[in-house]
């Protein structure tokens, strides 16, 4: 396991490994998306209180979860990069930031579009919503810092520190619905005594959760490969990927 992790830290090995994994990840992601969307939007029954508006949940909840997972991963990659100076970890942290920001953005926008018909307001300064908005700013701050220096390694260190410090916001978001009286409803899936949501709605939700996890990993690997090539463009292994120099179709 450790040896394998160590090999993954080598840019050419990581590049090839990610390239082999990507087609499988995208295929699995598209299948889950198709099943999850059909099930969630067509087959699942309307909610007895919220009617059809609750169907926003199938995109809102997975996005919100992934916005947190992406942040934890970004902070972990950053910590690995700060401690061991692994270039691949820097690249992964840099590559997951826009994806995490996208999921946060989707969670906020879909939440707003769900809040308007249900609460009567697009936005309220509630603990859950506010802490999620802060998460978006943390991502944007990370992206800004990571592109503020000419030297990619110094940029990664500055941004990495921000990522590691900002991780305190993650438990705040998660527990905000318990710590404060919020308009945002509490968790119905992860709780003691099992989920309090009908199976006909829970199953499509779980499939969408799987689909978006697959999306995150596929998009992350794709971005990371790009970023690696960009950083190592003058290295020998990248030039060896060019057509007519042995491994012909690898630079794609």
């Amino acid at each position: 396991m450790w040896i394998w992790l160590h090999r993954l830290g080598s840019p050419p090995y990581f590049y090839r490994f990610a390239g082999r994994l990507l087609p499988w990840l995208w295929t699995a992601c598209l299948i889950c998306l198709a099943v999850g969307l059909y099930w969630g939007l067509v087959v699942a029954p309307p909610d007895y209180q919220q009617g059809d508006s609750y169907r926003i949940m199938f995109i809102h909840v997975p996005s919100a979860w992934l916005s947190l997972l992406s942040y934890v991963l970004m902070a972990s990659f950053s910590a690995a990069a700060l401690i061991w100076r692994v270039k691949v970890a820097e690249v992964l942290a840099r590559s997951i930031a826009p994806l995490g920001a996208s999921f946060t953005f989707i969670a906020l926008v879909t939440g707003s579009l769900w809040g308007k018909p249900m609460w009567g307001a697009w936005w309220v300064w509630d603990a859950r919503l506010t802490s999620e908005l802060i998460l978006l700013f943390l991502y944007l701050g990370f992206i800004a810092l990571a592109s503020a220096y000419d030297d990619p390694r110094r940029a990664a260190r500055a941004a990495g520190l921000l990522a590691v410090v900002g991780v305190v916001n993650v438990p705040i978001i998660h527990f905000s619905v318990q710590w404060w009286n919020t308009l945002h409803q509490g968790s119905t899936v992860i709780k003691l005594g099992g989920p309090s949501i009908a199976l006909s709605m829970l199953l499509p939700l779980l499939i969408m959760v799987v689909a978006l996890h697959l999306y995150l990993f596929a998009a992350l690997l794709q971005r990371a490969r790009c970023e690696l090539i960009a950083r190592e463009r003058s290295s020998r292994w990248v030039n060896a990927l060019l057509p007519g120099r042995g491994v012909s179709d690898e630079l794609a």
Binding site: G51, I56, S102, I106, V109, W114, Y215, A219
Partner: protein
């Protein structure tokens, strides 16, 4: 589009898009998500092509 089989009704396209009156909210939510996710998936593809051309020209930065 078969749905609500227990009521013996097949759902029509109109019903599907209407979403019990919440069509605007539901479809805007999915529309925004689709645009963001598809853009994120496609950007690296274009960047890859540009990088490849640059490296093939033998260009260093």
């Amino acid at each position: 589009m078969p749905c609500y089989l227990d009521e013996g009704l097949a759902m029509s396209w109109h019903e599907f898009l209407y979403m019990g009156g919440y069509g605007f909210y539901v479809w805007s939510a999915y529309g925004v998500a689709a645009v963001v996710l598809i853009t994120n998936a496609l950007l690296p593809v274009f960047r890859f092509r540009a990088l490849r051309r640059e490296i093939e020209r033998g260009g260093e930065r």
